[in-house]
Symmetry: C2
Subunit: 244 residues, 2 copies
DNA sequence: GTATTTTACTTGTCATGACAATATAATATG
DNA sequence: CATATTATATTGTCATGACAAGTAAAATAC
């Protein structure tokens, strides 16, 4: 459900949606408050009811607002927390107010293991870039991360220095690929000696292992990432998920 | 984004949506296949284009289908995996093909800690039911779980035997409360001796700790659950999340 | 004062219609 | 044969309109 339409102009429904979002973010509309009705929005913005409705519906789908037939729409009490562990590591850490940085252990072009090839839906004989980094916040290692990237999507990727560059930014600007969806499987395990050494831990310490797949808007698997996080220094936040 | 409208009849768009979903589930429409166009669906089902479009849009919002302007709609390659750790434990474990069961350690009515009261958005002086269970699959303990439940939402909850009853079923049938949204924060830590004993682990083993909030359709916090999972026997699957 | 009915407001569903934007295929031209 | 133009298909946005369903408030009846 893209909230930012990918077009050459900004649709009316989107402008109204952003306006309402702004009012919620600024506290002009508080949790529990009723939003203007579809008819009121229609009159206020000079649009049809279907356009007003579309703006409200989008906020409902994002879990920001809820509506009840015959009564109205209301701002959700529980604010959505920023998810972490799903987007760009750089973006995650910056959003938490820390300074992200990375140390590249290795970036190489290679043959994938069978499981990796399967998960990435690689064509026969397809290669991957394997990017191994230690991720840090405020210079303290928090994650050991290996990204498996379909080589056919990213020719020339090895020319970049991912100590400095953000992988997601390179996806977007160089290759025109927008990370749009992600899912993850998460387990706890204990740190092996080599991993413990890289993360400044004791062997046997508890670590969080997340295997995340990232998809483009057309559901191409654009990245498989295995991250091992210090149990004590990183909390994984899922986004709000619909379970009904 | 409710996919099952809560009404006394089934809307046309929903029937079409379910029909398309059935074709995808049965393999009649395979990953990568193009779906019928809006105009074709319109003719085939004898509905307006807006109704056809609504059905397709709902599948897009669920991450099952994607569409491209001027080209068409397509079945996503990557199938959505069943999430786990977000819904009813019973439902999760049953979906994995195991037999869920629970041993109640304790169910009591008590004053909440400040953090619990805040997260549950309890009224001043509000009490909680604290339900402590060991969750099992095929009789093997996999999680130590404490649920904090706002007492005002569930009067008389302590009359139920949650060794046998599903909490979510009781929510729905007895109290008319539908779990609709959830989010979780997840960490890894190590098992303390008492916990290790309850889960059949060694002290110091890695465990996954998930703190999950569950919301009704009107975003009331209906449950706060702290689950500690064996690192080796439980993998937490997030659903597909929109990150764009 | 209470119960019932009516009214008003609001969201939900669906129709018809039009045009814009995007993309590809077919056709025309040099 | 290559390039440009036109046609076609499809999704995206927006309008007007109507009626259903749900809910609460106001008015009326007893």
């Amino acid at each position: 459900m893209p909230t930012a339409p990918n077009r050459s102009f900004t649709p009316l429904y989107y402008q109204i949606e952003q306006d309402l979002l702004r009012q919620i973010d600024k506290g002009e509309l508080k949790p529990g408050d009723q939003l203007p009705s579809e008819a009121q929005i229609s009159r206020q913005y000079g649009v049809s009811r279907i356009t007003a409705r579309r703006a409200l519906e989008n906020l409902v789908q994002q879990g920001i607002v809820y509506s009840r037939q015959g009564i109205g729409s209301f701002v959700a009490y529980a604010r959505i927390r920023e998810m972490s562990g799903f987007r760009s590591f750089s973006e995650d850490i910056t959003a938490k107010g820390y300074r992200p940085s990375s140390r590249v252990v290795e970036l190489s072009l290679e043959e994938p293991e069978a499981d990796v090839a399967r998960r990435l839906q690689l064509p026969e004989g397809g290669k991957i870039y394997r990017l191994h980094r230690i991720r840090q916040m405020d210079d303290q290692p928090v994650a050991d991360e290996v990204a498996y990237l379909p080589a056919h999507l990213y020719p020339g990727l090895d020319q970049y220095d991912f100590s400095k560059a953000s992988l997601y930014e390179v996806f977007r600007t160089r290759y025109g690929i927008n990370p749009t969806w992600a899912d993850a499987e998460i387990e706890a395990t204990f740190a092996a000696p080599d991993l413990a050494q890289r993360l400044g831990l004791q062997p046997g310490d508890a670590v969080l292992v997340a295997l995340r797949q990232t998809y483009s808007a057309t559901f191409e698997v654009i990245e498989l990432v295995r991250s091992v996080y210090c149990g004590s220094r990183f909390t994984f936040f899922t986004g709000r998920q619909f379970i009904g």
